[in-house]
Structure formats: structure tokens, C-alpha cells
Amino acid sequence: MVNSIVGYGCISSAGVGVKKYWDGLLSGQDHSRPMNSKDWPVKPPTTPFTCLAENRPNGLPIRTHIVNQLMQAWEELKENIGDPVHGDLGELGLIFASTKGCIEDFIWDPRPGDLRQDPLTPILKGFTDRAKIRPKRSLCVSNACASSHSAIYLAHRWLEKKSVQSVLVLAADFLGPFVVHGFQSLNALSSTKNKPFSKDRDGMQLGEAAVAILLSRKLTGPLVLRNVRLFNEGYGLTRPNPNGEGLKEIYRWFEPGSSPHLIIAHGTGTFHNDLAEDCAIAAAFGNERQRPPVTNTKWSIGHTLGASGAMDFIAACESMKSQTCFEIANTSEIDPGLKANYLIKNSKHLFPKKINSVIVNSLGFGGITGALEIGESPP
């Protein structure tokens, strides 16, 4: 069962639109930067979208702001494919994926009743009202940093069961004091640059993004979602199994004996994440000479948390459309303990000759692991 990737749109620290994001990846631009909650609110960024919070009009509720960002992504999607609201989408499903960005409005000083309502559903409702769409079914998913993969997993299932014709997956996260304080408390943030798989990696940079992806049962475009799997390995709360057991388990469900032409790794730049992913990739694609090249996006736009899988999904689609890929531009020297083939700085000669299949990984707190495979539409 494959589902068509009809279109997508996004806003990130690279700016509004897929093109700016993609151009940034190709040209090695790092739009992220260190954040320190001691200096909150943070100083104006070097680029206008590094922290979307700073572009928020004064006094606008954060929930409204997130809906605005999602609307921008949705508008880009519609523009790219022709307005699907008036087209042949059929019965629509809607899934919103996010983590903690939606709580900043109330969590510091809650009013009575604020804590009863989950923070994601009002955003889902706000979006449907603004976009004037009436989904047949809708839902919110919050599976830590694998939230996007989880939403796509659910969408794939809805389409497989033929309960809807199309699913719009929305993903967004927002950086506020809660999230930044939280990651600081875990000592997970780099004070310099995000350098995934580097020998001197020291943590992640945070970023923000809002994404809209439209999937359909009807094969309409050149790209399809071939497979998507989730696995909770339950190893630890904040770190994956060092042997990458969760990802290995997922890779077993993918087509045996075939290697993707490219892997977009989760690659947070933390010691444990990168080690676990490397182990899984090396084990699944055991022949060193045949191991697919591995790249990632977080060095450019930061870790966009609940939206990160969706941003990587877009990068995978753009790689296939343009038949090119991008380096991990902040990483100059690979950790010698790692075994996979990483596309670090100045590795263009290692780019794959053709890209007909891309795997995108995602790992989240709580032991949740996800991977999806994008391929060409069958003839």
C-alpha cells in the first residue's frame, strides 16, 4: 500500500516557504543559533525567522500565532498544487502533531480550567476555522520529537483503511521559555553549533517550524509514501538504546535486501542519539560499500521538535525531485567510532548518482522511534 504525496508547505528559521529551506540546505546555511533562557526574551535574531516567537506581534496569543504559521504553510501547499479545497480531495482527515510549544500561553500562570484542556486541540480547531475545511475525522498526536512520524503513521493507516480519501498532516512547534528551560535542564543544548555525527558534537540547537503535508490515496504525483513504522523500545526516558534496537526493529519491516539511496537521519548532535542511529544503520545495511549515504537537516534549521520529522520529510521529497542532496555542513570530522557513510562538509563527491528512495528517521523521548520511506510513484 502506497499513498501519494500531493504537496507540502513550510515555514522555518530559513524563512517562509520550501524554497528558502531547501536553498539553505544546499548552500550550507546555518539558520540556527544558541539560545539561553537566562537572556529571555532572546535578542533579535540574525535572520528574521530564527525564533518565530520574536516575530510574533505583541500581545498575540501563542496559539493564534501557531495557527497563523500553519496557515502560511497551508497557503504555500495550496499554491503549489492548486487550491485543493475546491479540487478533488474527497473526504479529508486532519492530524496535528506537536509537543510543548502550545502550552506557553497558560502554563506559567494558569487560570482555573486552563489545565483541563489539552493544548493541541484548540489549535486544530483554530486551523479548521481559519482554513474553512471540514475534515471527516481529526485528531492531535504528541509523541515527543517523533510526533510528525506518528501523525504520518496514523495518516497512512487512515488511508490504508479507506476511511478518508486524503489526509492533511500539520506539524508545528514553538520555542518559548518552557521549552528552552527544559532542554537546558537536560544539558542537551550546544553552546556553539549543532554538529551531528561529529567527533566534537556537544548537543542540539533548537528551532521552530510549521509544516503542512497532504497525502492521498489517489496516485497524483511523482512521489509516494511507501512505508512508515513506529516502535517504542522503552529503553530509557531521554536516551535511545545505544545499539539502536528500536530503529533496527523498524528497518526489518522495510523491503528486505534493498537499500535506500539516501537516509535523512534524526541526528540531534547529542552523543546518545547519533550513536544509536549509527548502530542501527550500520546493522541494517551491513555491507560497508553498499551503505547508503546519510545526511540531516538540524544543523541548518535547528531541532524543530514535533515538526522535525515533517521538515525532514520535505527535504527527502526535494532531494528526490531535484535528484541532489545536501551535506551536514557544520560537521567537518566524523566521530571515528561511527560506521555509516555521512555526507559531511566537502563530501559532494559522495552524493548518490540517483535518488529514488529516501528513508527518514526520527527518535523521541520515551523510547519512541519512527522511520518512513519515500519513493517514486509506481508506473
Binding site: 510543548k100 502554563i107 483541563r116 489539552d118 493541541l120 483503511k161 537536560l186 517504542n232 531521554t238
Partner: protein, 229 residues
């Protein structure tokens, strides 16, 4: 399409924090660092373990998401890493999954005030010959859920477990299951107003009539429970 599923429902009230270690403490690494939600899930699992089958999928239905844990982190002056990790609502399943020695897909869903109901309908949609059993877990702080907050009351929580089993597309129910869910067609709209009513109906010792989630999905009781499960 007509689908029939068996439902077992378990309800586990508890208070948190505990002053003494639970019976299962030795089996969980740093049990004292669990938050109220993770604690309650393991506590409920150990209580009902004999009646629960290993699932192909776990759905975490999180009414109020992790607002409670988020607030606890804020009250720690946003500095406690232990409290931080529990601010992600899916994390509450991690210790349970480890305790169960289980691995598989876990989805953490939200749609208040119908999070449990929505998860039940989603669960029903997942069930088929390739996914025959699944668990839906919901843990709530009672003061956030269907009861009014009582000032100065101790923190009371409840864990809800819905164990769903695929029975057939047609035919009669299975007597093993106290509740049977009938589904006709694929309408996923929810017309039942909120989770509280579902919990109330399931908690009756003599449920009268069926519980209708929407015109196409209804629950019926097969037993007289005598007392609430």
C-alpha cells in the same frame, strides 16, 4: 461493514505521591522518580495483569495532555530534569513498556473533551486480522477531569485501561468480554459529548441500555457486574 470487538475495561484509582515503595518497586529503575502518571500505569498494570493480553499496539489517550506534569516542572522553577522528561505526554508509557517487556507502536492522542472516546474509536479502526489486540491507556488527575476540584484534597488520580480485541466482522459476541462494541459503517464523528459520560457508563454495575458513541458505534454490556470493575 459490521465489526464486532470485545472490550475489557479496568479502572484503577490511586493517590500520589506514595510514602512507601509499591510492591513492584524493585522491578523499576528509580521508581521514586516516576511522575504520577507513569506510576499509576505500572500500578494498574500489576493489578490487572492477569486479565490483560499482550497488545499489538498501545494508544495513549491523554485527557488534559501533560498539563499537570508541565505545571510541576514550572513549579520546580523550570530546573528539574526529572520533571522535564515527564512533560512529554508519551513518556508516561516508557516505564510501562519496559516493565511489560514489550515493544511496538505507541501513539499518544489528544482531543479533549473526547480524548478517551476518540481513542476508542481510533482503536476500533486499527483492529483487524493484522492487529487483533490493542490497549488504550488513559490516566487523569481527577481534579482536572470530570469532578470539580476539592480544595485541600489529596491528589487523586485514576488510570483507565481499555483492552480491545478483534472478534469478527459479523456474528455474535464472545462471552469472555464484559462489553461488546458494535460498529456499522465508517462514520468517525463523535456525537457523545465527553469522556466523563463514557467512564460513568462503564462504571455502572448495572448499565442500562447501550452506550452510543455515534449512530454507527455503540457499546453494550454483557454482564451484571454486581460492583464496579
Amino acid at each position: 461493514m459490521k465489526q464486532i470487538c470485545g472490550l475489557k475495561y479496568f479502572r484503577h484509582p490511586y493517590s500520589f505521591p506514595r510514602s512507601s515503595p509499591p510492591p513492584w518497586a524493585e522491578k523499576v529503575d528509580r521508581w521514586h522518580q516516576l511522575d504520577a502518571y507513569s506510576f499509576g500505569m505500572i500500578d494498574a498494570y500489576t493489578r490487572f495483569q492477569e486479565s490483560l493480553e499482550r497488545p499489538d499496539l498501545i494508544l495513549l489517550a491523554s485527557p488534559s495532555a501533560s498539563n499537570d506534569a508541565d505545571r510541576q516542572f514550572v513549579l520546580s522553577k523550570a530546573k528539574s530534569p526529572v520533571k522535564m522528561v515527564h512533560t512529554l505526554p508519551n513518556v508516561r508509557s516508557s516505564s510501562l513498556v519496559n516493565f511489560m517487556g514489550w515493544g511496538g507502536p505507541v501513539l499518544c492522542l489528544q482531543k479533549d473533551p473526547q480524548t478517551l472516546l476518540t481513542a476508542l474509536v481510533e482503536g476500533l479502526d486499527f483492529l483487524d486480522p493484522s492487529c487483533r489486540k490493542l490497549m488504550i491507556w488513559g490516566v487523569v488527575n481527577e481534579t482536572f477531569f470530570h469532578r470539580m476540584p476539592e480544595p485541600y484534597a489529596p491528589q487523586l488520580f485514576e488510570a483507565y485501561i481499555f483492552s480491545l480485541t478483534y472478534l469478527a466482522l459479523e456474528g455474535k459476541g464472545d462471552e469472555e468480554f464484559p462489553y461488546i462494541i458494535h460498529r456499522v459503517g465508517d462514520d468517525f464523528s463523535l456525537t457523545c459529548p465527553n469522556d466523563g459520560l463514557l467512564v460513568e457508563w462503564l462504571s455502572e454495575s448495572h448499565p442500562k441500555g447501550d452506550f452510543t458513541i455515534n449512530p454507527q458505534v455503540s457499546l453494550s454490556s454483557q454482564r451484571d457486574f454486581g460492583e464496579a470493575p
